[in-house]
């Protein structure tokens, strides 16, 4: 009898919460860990939702996919970007491979799956979907079935708001509806492989981390949202328990996250810093904080500029490559080396040393294709996010520059694998996000394509 696989994707769920802090309060996830194998899972460079999920489901690295984030700079431009979407993914996903082998699949909310591409089964796209007025399902008629089942399907919530009660309502409504749809598809459509991603985990962590983490610089004891994150996890665990009861003994359960999360210490204004260093020159200083796109940059006197986000990206203004490039190609390497040293030497607001990592494309994307940045930077090991805006008149912001955000990303997500026919119950050494796809194919009795870059998680088959 061939096995089926159910993948439960919890966007940004960190091992520190699932394996430790909330372990006792999540009976269903704990059951999977106590009887299966589980490990910390090393995410992509950088650890961010797009491309991490696609790396996981294709078993191909970011360089091979040519997918480096939500946005990519159009080559030869300063401010022109393209947004990641499903058509940019040219490598086969596990569900493509399984579909070719006549296995039936259900795919829900895996970023980026908009616009929906045909699958051998059902697909609901992810939060890249512009609105639910668009066709966000394959086949198209599935959208009508979803509407009949749950009314308006919520693809995402916007978490950067001070209206916390309203946000909580939306989060629960979104997750409730998503699980209703999952249950419906599990029971009404044939499937051998089902994967879904619940983005609510990431959203609630960003919005409510400071309320429970006593180490957070904005934590206030006795606040009314102290249990908001934990209660959401408990709610999720209960929903997961319901799904588990719908599976049979031939279904292997895998629980994964694309990256982890941790408290944010603050935001560092990367472009302001480049200005103080003389690498970025403005024609006019903005009166209020504005994005680089809206600032008046003197490109002919600018050597480098940066992007904000949970990590920083740095681009160089190279003669012959950028429209008003100033770095001579022969000086590229020496300038890069110097800038790397200077970024590594950045200290915190109180002069404390930071554990900053700086990567060149050759280091993290060997033979990478497409539009990657010249440098990828993790400020203080990602504890400080990067603010791209200019005009703050300071380098360090205690809060995010664009609305409240309490958490940043971390390098390790979670991996739990439970086979109902085996009783293992073991924490195993860290695995890589690249190991998921080959492991799924092995479980389902398919051979692993030689160009998949990860390894089968052997401990799951002992």
């Amino acid at each position: 009898m061939s096995k089926k696989v159910l993948i439960i994707g919890l966007d940004a769920a960190p091992p520190e919460l699932v394996f430790e802090a909330f372990y006792e309060d999540l009976p269903n996830l704990r059951y999977l860990m106590e009887n299966g194998v589980y490990a910390r899972m090393r995410s992509t460079h950088p650890p961010i939702t797009i491309p991490a999920w696609m790396v996981m489901v294709t078993g191909k690295s970011m360089g091979k996919l040519g997918l480096y984030g939500f946005r990519h700079r159009r080559p030869g431009t300063y401010n022109d970007i393209w947004i990641a979407h499903s058509l940019a993914v040219k490598e086969k996903t596990v569900w493509d491979i399984l579909g070719e082998c006549k296995k039936q699949v259900v795919v829900i909310g895996v970023p980026p799956t908009y616009p929906p591409k045909p699958v051998n089964g059902q697909l609901i796209s992810c939060f890249i979907t512009p609105t639910t007025e668009k066709d966000y399902t394959y086949p198209k008629e599935l959208k009508r079935e979803i509407q009949e089942k749950v009314g308006e399907y919520l693809i995402d919530v916007v978490f950067r708001t001070e209206q916390k009660d309203r946000l909580l309502e939306q989060l629960y409504e979104m997750t409730e509806k998503r699980f209703k749809v999952i249950e419906y598809l599990m029971t009404h459509k044939p499937w051998d492989f089902l994967i879904f991603v619940e983005i609510g985990v990431d959203r609630i962590q960003h919005a409510f981390w400071k309320f429970f983490d006593k180490q957070h610089h904005l934590y206030q004891a006795g606040n009314q949202y102290e249990n908001a994150v934990k209660e959401y996890y408990e709610f999720l665990d209960e929903k997961i328990g319901k799904l588990l009861r719908l599976t049979d003994s031939d279904t292997v359960i895998i629980v994964v996250s694309d990256h982890g999360a941790k408290r944010m210490k603050g935001a560092f204004c990367i472009n302001e810093w480049l200005i103080t260093k003389g690498y970025l020159t403005l024609k006019k200083k903005p009166e209020n904080a504005v994005s680089l796109e809206k600032a008046e940059v003197n490109w002919s006197k600018t050597k480098a500029w940066g992007w904000g986000g949970y990590h920083a990206r740095i681009f160089f203004n190279v003669r012959g490559r950028e429209p008003q490039g100033v770095i001579e190609p022969e000086n590229f390497d020496s300038f890069r080396k110097q800038l790397i040293e200077e970024i590594r030497a950045i200290r915190g607001p109180n002069g404390e040393p930071w554990d900053t990592e700086v990567y060149t494309p050759e280091e993290i994307y060997p033979n990478g294709k497409g539009d990657y940045p010249d440098l990828t930077v993790y400020l203080d090991d990602l504890s400080w996010r990067s603010a791209g805006t200019i005009g703050h008149n300071m380098l360090y912001l205690p809060e995010n520059d664009k609305g409240p955000d309490d958490a940043v990303h971390s390098h390790h997500g979670i991996f739990i694998l439970y086979d109902p026919n085996k009783k293992i119950g073991k924490k195993i050494p860290d695995i890589s996000i690249l190991d998921v796809a080959p492991t799924v194919l092995k479980i389902m009795g398919l051979s692993v394509p030689s160009d998949m870059e990860g390894h089968i998680v052997k401990e799951a088959f002992t």
Binding site: I48, T49, G69, F70, R71, I81, I83, H85, S86, L87, A88, Y114, P115, F127, I128, P130, T131, K134, D156, V158, F159, R160, H206, S291, L292, E293, W307, G308, G309, Y310, R385, G388, T389, N400, K402, G403, D405
Partner: protein, 79 residues
């Protein structure tokens, strides 16, 4: 027009029917413009619409892309 020219013309063009009042309206509209016939004007308009449709097959329309960018900005993924 020779017979072979007629054949070529037959192969490259075809006839479609539109309501006479619409034909008259279009005829009025193109007076004084560079369009020499109702057919050339209708062809031009249809090409525009078909091209628009083809653009829609890109992942995002312009409007959608702005919408997604605004959401990603609100989510903190882009500046």
């Amino acid at each position: 027009m020779t017979e072979s020219e007629k054949t070529t013309k037959r192969k490259k063009f075809t006839t479609i029917s539109i309501p006479t009042p619409l034909f008259k309206k279009v005829k009025e509209r193109i007076k004084g413009t560079g369009f020499t016939s109702v057919s050339s004007y209708v062809t031009y308009v249809l090409r525009e619409i078909v091209a628009e449709k083809e653009e829609e097959e890109e992942p995002f329309t312009k409007e959608d892309e702005e919408r997604v960018k605004a959401r990603l900005r609100a989510l903190g993924y882009i500046d």
